[in-house]
Amino acid sequence: MPKDTGIGASTKRREDVRFLTGRGVYTDDLSLFGQAHAVMVRSTVAHGRIVSIDTSAVESMPGVLAVFTGEDFKDVGGNPAGWLINSRDGTPMREPKRPVLAHGKVRHVGDAYAAVIAESYAQAKDAAQVLSDATEIEELPAIVDMKAAAADASNRVHDEIPDNICFDWGWIEDNRAAVDAAMKAAPHVVTLELTNNRLVPNAMEPRASIGEYFPGTGDYKLTTTSQNPHLTRLLICAFVMGIPENKLQVVAPDVGGGFGSKIYHYGEEALVLAAAKRLGRPVRWTAERTESFLSDAHGRDHVTKIELGCTKEGDILAIRTETYANVGAYLSNFSTATPTFLHGTLMAGPYKVPHVYVNVKTVFTNTAPVDAYRGAGRPEATYSIERVVDKMCRELGLDPFEVRRRNLLTPDQFPYTTPVGLVYDTGNYQATLDKAVDLADVAGFEARRAESAKRGKLRGMGLSTWIEACGIAPSHLVGVLGARVGLYDAATVRVNATGTISVMTGAHSHGQGHETVFPQIVAEKLGIPASSVEIVHGDTAKIPFGMGSYGSRSLAVAGSAMDRAIDKIIAKGKKIAAHMLEAAEGDITFADGKFSVAGTDKAKTFGEIAFSAYVPHNYPLETLEPGLEETAFYDPANFTYPAGAYICEVEVDEGTGKVDVVAFTCADDFGNVMNPMIVEGQVHGGVGQGIGQAVLESTSYDENGQLLTGSYMDYAMPRADDVPFYTVDHSCSTPCTHNPLGVKGCGEAGAIGSPPAVVNAVIDALQRGGHSHVTHIDMPVSPNRVWQAMNA
């Protein structure tokens, strides 16, 4: 019987009621007394020197209150990269300043160089247009193509960086010679060059920020679309504006999706704070979708050559990659970690491959900054590996299922130290593969293929066995790897005098359902109804210092902190109970919401203990503080390693090249599952985005650096009729060995595992359909590309 409450129950989401009745409160829904409106003035050229900005052209326009340019921020700090990466030769990466507003030069279309504040949005917008026309920018040649950028020292995105290279990273450099030797000795080498297409994250809620300043106290408040309010506060205070951290409150209220793009601090957040201070009024800014396309951090954008050395029987002996990763015009907060430690460390996949070497060159270009987007580095690694393994099978005439079975790590090999620096704690990759084969009815594929053929369609099946590292991350490890922050999280569990509970968590929910799932855990552990537990998140004035939600970390890290804090509550409760029941503390047991003296019927309920803690009349005050509130910080001992097997079936129309994803099966190992309904929803969403990447989504800049796909008219978002129903299973569970809940994280899985399954299926369809010369098509596998490939 499925449970209907507590851990493992598909409890319906309590947050849904406000969202379904229009009572959610997103940043743009707030209206503040005296508010003024900011509109950014953005570069229309990809690369140029700012000659003059004639602010007098707008200062007397109706409603205009203030104009800001890069001059106003030239003496404050810049928005930093969160990770410092060294090149192979030991030199530190190049980190150009990323100012609040562009100063001196503009470096991508959409780079904001000025802002107009006015009484109404319409007035600000009108003035921004006039200011744009009153600005002279000397256009410079745009640097768009990564390889050309790296080859041409005469044209520079940042004048001080001659070759446009941020760093040239080797992982692990000391292993390079051994990997080269293994590759040379391998009986067969498969080579594949591929592009991991640039994506625009496109959370449906555009970014928005409201700045407030309170002159009486000198306090600032920022309400913003953030996945991690404390991190945003830290970046603004310590790096950009120099505001004391205790003078800035950051609130991220209901947030309409993030997918990585709202991890980062953006210049608009600093701008509205500075403007609020100058005007003494709240200042608000909300992106139009076009601005989101131009200025949100994009994702992926790797060009990779991967080589795989193997035996003729398909045993993988060595993997070597060379990747060019586009970071765009400036470094965003995670942009140096994404192509390195979230990518190179995963390049062994779920396989027992002895030799792996990864080289990544990150390149500045005149395009929007690129940073972590759902999966962040791990989809790129998985795509490279799973595509080259598939190619190996075709070159050697081997069965892709059989080859996976030969190479997958086996359960007895854990904990397993990979050649790229990770220790996988646990897993059972055979089990998820078998489950996927079963659920996808692989045995029935031929019959389905014949049926498709009758309708004139080429049917193909693609497999991907994937692994990722999430639950980000052990602080000591990321410190060694160059992180400028720790990646623990925190929770405060406050038992109120009347027995209700408030949990203040550092995690942030922007669709994940924390307000429902976290109480399930508290309720189960304390034996009280989930309805008496309230989750508080997203406000630095209310919650302990936590790092927010990304990298599938909420439960594994912040949930573990909450679990630890609950343990402290129980431990204190036992002391109080021992006093009240006149028993030794060691004799007190806690179960089903009751503190009991072992072996007797003497007991106190959780509510009685809570009341006593706040009304301490019969209480050991000499040895114990009153109150019942505990905080725990949790720093994970390791990453977590979700893994799974995905099988995709496609139909390809030979006449048009159109690809239809007709079936998609996921068998995942997420460790323990707290709420299956929510976990399945996360997989659906990830797979939907993965199918989007594989089949539809393309971010194109022309040679002048103009974004050709800057709206939903041009950028093909997956829509309801582009995807099928998915079959999703998470029953093959090996609980994480090092966090208290045994959870691994599920948020990114779908986006990581699905793109190679789709492309492998397309290649399979074409090969079976007689187009045996087609061994690779870059994503998105658009009708044009597929048709061209078939007819080449």
Binding site: T21, G22, D29, E205, G513, E680, Y712, M713, R719, A720
Partner: protein, 161 residues
């Protein structure tokens, strides 16, 4: 600025609007009905869908003045009289048809209009009808299930999970 009057969720209301004021801004800023969202600037995403005289309309595409005197229904007017969730809303909760909730008001309004026209749609019809509503969170699986369930069909069987 002119005073524009219409009926919203059964009540006669009026607020100031310019000629260029869109219905969505009239609702959000003029009336404080912020359940209707803005997700794009090209009339593609459907986050802003409301009903105007019974028809699903993208409120970012209509000037407030042009619908003066009309009957408008928004997400705030979709619950039952006793405040409980309406059939479509309840189906979305039951089938986890929303995550971040941003696309949700538009999805609910589009679904209600869809089912009014086609009370027992097929899966393919649902997917086709939802083409004008983008959701980035759910991969549509549970939205389509919710719509089928709201139509009284066995969504679990149709999704063949």
């Amino acid at each position: 600025m002119t005073k524009v009057t219409m009926t919203v969720n059964g009540k006669s209301v009026s607020a100031e609007a310019e000629g260029r004021t869109l219905l969505v801004n009239y609702l959000r800023e003029g009336l404080g009905l912020t359940g209707t969202h803005v997700g794009c600037d090209t009339s593609q995403c459907g986050a802003c869908v409301v009903h105007v005289d019974g028809k699903a309309v993208k409120s970012c595409t209509v000037f407030a003045m042009d619908v003066a005197g009309s009957e408008v229904r928004t997400i705030e007017g979709m619950a039952n009289a006793d405040g409980s969730l309406g059939v479509v809303q309840q189906a979305f909760q039951d089938h986890h048809g929303l995550q971040c909730g941003f696309c949700t008001p538009g999805m609910v309004m589009t679904t209600a209009a869809l089912l009014a026209n086609n009370p027992k749609p097929t899966e393919a019809e649902v997917r086709h009808e939802l083409e004008g509503n983008i959701c980035r969170c759910t991969g549509y699986h549970n939205i389509v299930k919710a719509v089928l369930a709201a139509s009284g069909q066995d969504a679990g069987a149709m999704a063949a999970e």
